[in-house]
Assembly symmetry: C2
């Protein structure tokens, strides 16, 4: 398809491409990041979606441009025409893609003005407290140290889709409004749905399982809602969840293969395609061995006990806590050269009702967590796929089968052995960049205190 050209304007050049036009005139679009007055010469850092380019404004070259530049402040959106000049060797800026050139302005046009910024956006790091960062989200997202988080997030989603397609999954789109609380529990948001009460789904779990009967293998990116009343650095009220579900598995280990494939593919793609960003966040290259160590919870607990020289004894516990996750990952790194470790066989009663009890020992479930550098990042299980077993587990757990009509319908008609896993997009983004708070990994985080604005402002 041919794009039509309507105007006689010079075509816009992106900052990263300026180097290709040395000696020629180009037109740039972007925002003023910094203006530096050096007596007669004025320098601008212009930001566009590809990076930064330096502009020099010289009244002897263009009196007009020099006049306009007096008015410019940070975040003004502008169009700048100028000649690309090579910089002398000693003035090359290696941090910029355009660092070997600068653009000598012949004309500057203001496209949209900006108010005076409430804080300095010109530094390499934004030294603001989180509430201030979020109160001014529309502005602070423009800072490199912030928006790069979301370039990594975009890559996580892209890598996930690539891995899911490699596994033969079909992409599905599932609803977030549900007639009942998806997995039981009280932490649900209630919606006034016409004359009825409905709820926001806590996960796409039940829908992706239904779809096993249709496509065998599916993936979905959806929203998960948790009315978690406590404030922590690891929970959001609304988050993006990425899910995979795989049918006709022959062995439990096939599911471990799949979760490890997806987890390591994402980390590996991000390492490769966001290498510069990871470096600027001080993140080391991940260790991904050919075989990820796999441990049952019990084995992991024994190792933690020995590895900590008896300092930490979690052998009687039902799960790993944050300290245990760190310790077992330290062990995996030291002993197996791996930043990943897979833990299996968590107690059945600690997992969701659809987790399959191990036929050899029903107290333990065929469940698994994938840990990365001290944090569980993906989690899942083989599922109960027999209709009668599902019904009897629901009864044991005091779940009303009538609340799951569409889900149970699927299992009446031959759902084969299957399983899956999921992860939170913000949680994984946070971990990949070692952010302190999950809110930093959400463009517009929702929690008990904030929906864009602080909720207390609304009362």
């Amino acid at each position: 398809m041919l794009f039509r050209i309507y105007n006689t304007l010079m075509i816009r050049t992106l900052s990263s491409k300026a180097v290709d036009f040395a000696g020629r005139e180009i037109r740039l679009n972007g925002w003023i990041k910094i203006r530096r007055d050096h007596g007669k010469l004025i320098f601008l850092d212009l930001r566009d979606r590809d990076g930064i380019v330096q502009i020099v404004v010289n009244p002897h070259i263009s009196e007009e441009a020099y006049k306009v530049v007096q008015e410019l402040r940070p975040e003004f959106a502008v169009e700048i025409t100028g000649k690309v000049n090579k910089r002398p060797e000693n003035a090359i800026n290696k941090d910029l893609l355009s660092g070997t050139v600068e653009v000598e302005a012949t004309a500057i046009k203001i496209l949209s003005k900006a108010e005076t910024l409430p804080f300095d956006m010109g530094e390499a790091k934004l030294n603001l407290e989180l509430p201030t960062l979020l109160d001014n989200r529309s502005l602070t997202l423009r800072h490199k140290s912030i928006f790069e988080i979301f370039k990594v997030q975009e890559e996580v989603a892209r890598a996930f889709r690539k891995a899911a397609e490699k596994l033969g999954c079909t992409e599905i789109f599932v609803p977030a409004i549900s007639a009942s609380a998806t997995e039981g529990g009280a932490e649900v948001f209630k919606v006034k749905y016409y004359d009825y009460d409905a709820y926001l789904t806590q996960s796409p779990q039940l829908y992706k399982q239904i779809m096993i009967g249709v496509f065998e293998r599916v993936y979905t990116i959806s929203h998960a809602y948790r009315a978690e009343p406590s404030v922590t650095t690891r929970h959001l009220s609304e988050s993006v969840q990425l899910d995979i579900e795989i049918g006709f598995i022959d062995t439990f280990e096939e599911l471990l293969d799949a979760i490890e494939l997806v987890g390591t593919s994402i980390v590996s793609d991000v390492s490769k395609n966001c290498a510069k960003i990871l470096a600027s966040f001080g993140i080391e290259k991940a260790l991904i061995p050919t075989e990820i160590p796999r441990l049952t919870l019990k084995e992991a607990q024994e190792i933690i006990y020995k590895f900590s020289n008896g300092q930490r004894d979690c052998r009687a516990e039902q799960d790993l806590n944050a300290t245990d996750e760190k310790l077992i990952c330290e062990w995996a790194k030291k002993e197996k050269g791996s930043d990943f470790v897979t833990i299996t066989h968590f107690p059945t009663k600690k997992r969701a009702f659809y987790s399959l009890p191990d036929p050899k020992n029903p107290e333990l479930s065929l469940s698994y967590d994938l840990l990365f550098r001290g944090l569980e990042i993906l989690s899942g299980s083989q599922r109960v796929n027999d209709y009668d077993q599902l019904l009897s587990i629901m009864k044991e757990r005091k779940l009303n089968p009538k609340s799951f009509p569409m889900y149970l319908q699927a299992f009446k008609y031959g759902i084969p052995p299957e399983g899956g896993f999921s992860f939170g997009l913000e949680r994984l983004t946070m971990k990949l960049l070692e952010l302190q708070n999950i809110r930093e990994a959400s463009l517009f985080p929702r929690d008990t205190e904030r929906v864009d604005e602080r909720l207390s402002n609304l009362k």
Copy 2:
């Protein structure tokens, strides 16, 4: 990454690959679609994610398999081992990828049983009323004529992402919980959000515009919620919306280029990658000329008047109705050899507050709809990007600026000329396959009467 092999089982073969194993033994997984008793021989149609393969069960080959097959009914999930035999020339089934072979069963294992089906799933079309189709959604989705709709839907999403990336857009993830009704109006769902009232967003509009200041060009796939109380064949309460927003545009026409690129790319990719499905739905190949005809609303109205020989006169109206959209598309097909037509310059007061009034005539807005075969499928506009103009329009429209704090914040800091567009995934899927009702194009449609179950069952 190497997959580990744990079992000595023969690796599973997909139905479409059976032809590669003529003369050899393979293992298949799938669901019984049809069982046909031919006296001594029993034939099965086995469905897996890739298609159908015919199984023949002969007691002289395997008495065991012949015994198991007696028990099989439609939708039983099974594992079948058998030898791939070439079919005689006159028995080749050209409708199947596996049509040149059949598999002679040596062993059949039931993986999961199915209850007796409430209706026949063996026919090429499912002759069920829509309510029955939806009441039994977990089952009916397994019918080829139904699940293929969602293979097309998957391709629409894939094509959209491809086109958006071609335009240089960054993928963003935006929230669906909002502190106020996104675009004003009463048709919003209210959520009990901790101690506050919140709403489900009607579109990601405001967030994608904010992100112009960050990434210049963005795309997002999100959910849109409309508490539309009326029952129509074209509305869902929850739908999937695909959005693009593009900053630093030089001309209005750049936006028309972009919407046409995205619209035609999707139709073209679906035509190419889902050709068989389109054919089975009786859909003709789309006419996509190099230049899509572009008309202002006024021009379109004049053409409709003339083209209908004065039978239809909408020249005094503010919009095109369903009949007008059909007529102008008939004209475009006949006169311009195009299944697409772009209509621009709708009255400002008929479009959302963020649509930019045409500076040459503020009564009309710089808005556009892309029509395809008689239906508007994508819609958008250039936006008001000046903070003061935005405030004054909000006041005129009696919108309270305090309801849009994060949105207005973005415009305080230099948002350049920009615009965008969006479309509903279900609506476009419906149109591409000429379905009668939008509910057919949603896996689990939500409307005034249904959230999986009929709501009346819940009272």
